[in-house]
Amino acid sequence: MWGRWGVYLLVALAITLPMVLPVRIRMVPTPPVRSFFRMVEQIPKGKALMIAADFDTGTEGENGPQVEAVLEHAMSRKIPILIMGTAIQGPELVQSYAEDLAKKYDYRYGRDFVNLGYLPGGQPVLEKLGRSIWQTKPTDYQGKPLSQLPMMRRVRTAKDIALVAEFTGAGVLPWYIQTFWAQFRVPLAQGCTGIIGPEQFPYLDSGQLSGLMTGLTGAAQYEHLIKAPKRAYRRMIPQNFAHITVIVLIVLANIRLFAERARRLRGR
């Protein structure tokens, strides 16, 4: 009983104390995050970035800072942003981040960014979306016709999208690979939760993914690349301390385990 509470207390201290103490850490971006950054950096003028918000509030802690970092990068480059999602809550969450950042970068809804909202139907709908956005979702998330949103005159099919940035905590990447990457030849980059991170590396190796951000650490690395350390960087400090605590606890528990085993063997 006390062992469990002891671990809780240690982890709680490892997480909360760095939040109130002036601690700094150094970020070193990994090649997949650098590649994600490069893909956004290389979006040509006039082409759009599609943000696929395939996450819900359950993984907002990881996916949220990732999307924010990419939105900030895209807005600083004046790239048109198209938001959609195959998860119900995702597009609404991304809309709130975009509205917050829009003030800083003078982005206006309809002119510089548009939210298509929730798109149910999975892969067949993505296939249709790539062929014609106007026919697949003739209205935005508020029910406003696309004809009333000036940006949508330039963003009509997958041909007008330079990069699909997908953010998820679930395994929906194959839908985008089979449609946007394989059929329409649009590069894909992904921001995923830590849990599914290792599963995505084969896609990166095969070139199906052009960039990858894993968990909060990926978001913090991206923030470092765009020189705008915010939520993710701030949260990586307690994350590091929590990891150190867990590693120390695992090592101590193993030492104790081996010591007990040795004692038992000596007692025989």
């Binding site: 119900i88 909202g117 249709k128 014609s132 290792p198 949260r235």
Partner: protein, 413 residues
Amino acid sequence: MLPAVSETTQKYLIYWLGAICTLAIYTILYRENRLYRLFEHFYIGLAVGFGLYINFKEVIYDVWWKAMMTESSGSIFAFDTPPHLPGIVLERDDKKEGKGCWKWDVGQAAEIRLREIVKEWGTPNYLKLWAKADRPVSGGRLTLIGTVAVPENGQRGTFSISFPMETDRWRLIRLELRAFDIRGSPFRPFEKIGKRNQLGEVTDLRLRANEALVQADATIFLDDLNHNIGYRWWWVFSGLFGLMFYTLFIPRLAWMSRLAMAIPLGLGSGYTFKAFVLELGPQIDASLKPLYGDIPLLRIVNNAIFLIVLLSVMTYFFFSIEHRHSAIRSPAQFGRWMLMVTFGIVFGNTVMGRFSLFISRADFLIREMQVPWDLPEWSRLLIVGHLLAAFLVLAYLSVLYERRKATVGGTEA
């Protein structure tokens, strides 16, 4: 109607509601209790409610219901503003829609150009125009001529359609797009769903009166020109088909649900085959890495490690031959070790993910705290700590209450 609240009040409400919910949910760390269950129900209710609303509003209503119950119209030209063209005046009394209509004396100008039209028409099937003449004109006809530019390839095209204008009563004229005389390439090259490609941007729109109307010196009244997709009433079948899933609850009709399930199953099977070609194909291709040639030594070492691990893991999953011979057993064992390493990575990432989620809540509670005073972060941490302690006490009391109730119930029984 809820009263309007200031932005600051909204911030306070959002933070403190969020903080109370978060702390109440974290009482599960102590044990299952009534406080936790109450807030868990709030969360489930909110998530289900939000899901229902979005599904109903953005999918069922906006996409399905509107397609069936409306013509999905869009205005091209309203004829509501003064024309500033010779021979045309704005008529405010004898109109059909909006603020007014145009009264066009064809004797003064046989052709008019509509300025500031809506260029993007979407995917219309027909246009609609309110029109009438001031008196019946035998053989009177109007021609609608449009010029279309396709931004994607720079090509241009025109369309035109002629329609009778003989009556002196307001008539809603329906102009089917398939009946248009199309010249050049007015359609977009890539954007296509169904039979037809999408129309480009309509840059110019003119109306021309024929000789009969000019000679009769007729006056034409024009109002509201719209593009329409039309009522897609047949979408009702998709709704009925969807409802077939619910026949599962009626044993006599349950067979119908299997019919409905057959479609997604068939689609899924088809897509699985497609996935093999489009998703796994490139991965198999990428797995064949070179071990020699004009590549850096480090890359060769990397590729060799990759291939050894790949072949070992595949050997482990090769169950057709018993793993007795050392040529099979050793790589299979090595493959198993590699799998263990992978599972370790996955588990490590899982722990990292869970910490991230907890840290995001702790960050919200401490750093995003909304209080009227400028508090140092130490004080915020202390406030959150005290609140958590208070919630844990409440959880403890709820557990005590449940235990006492169970004891009393047991004694009575």
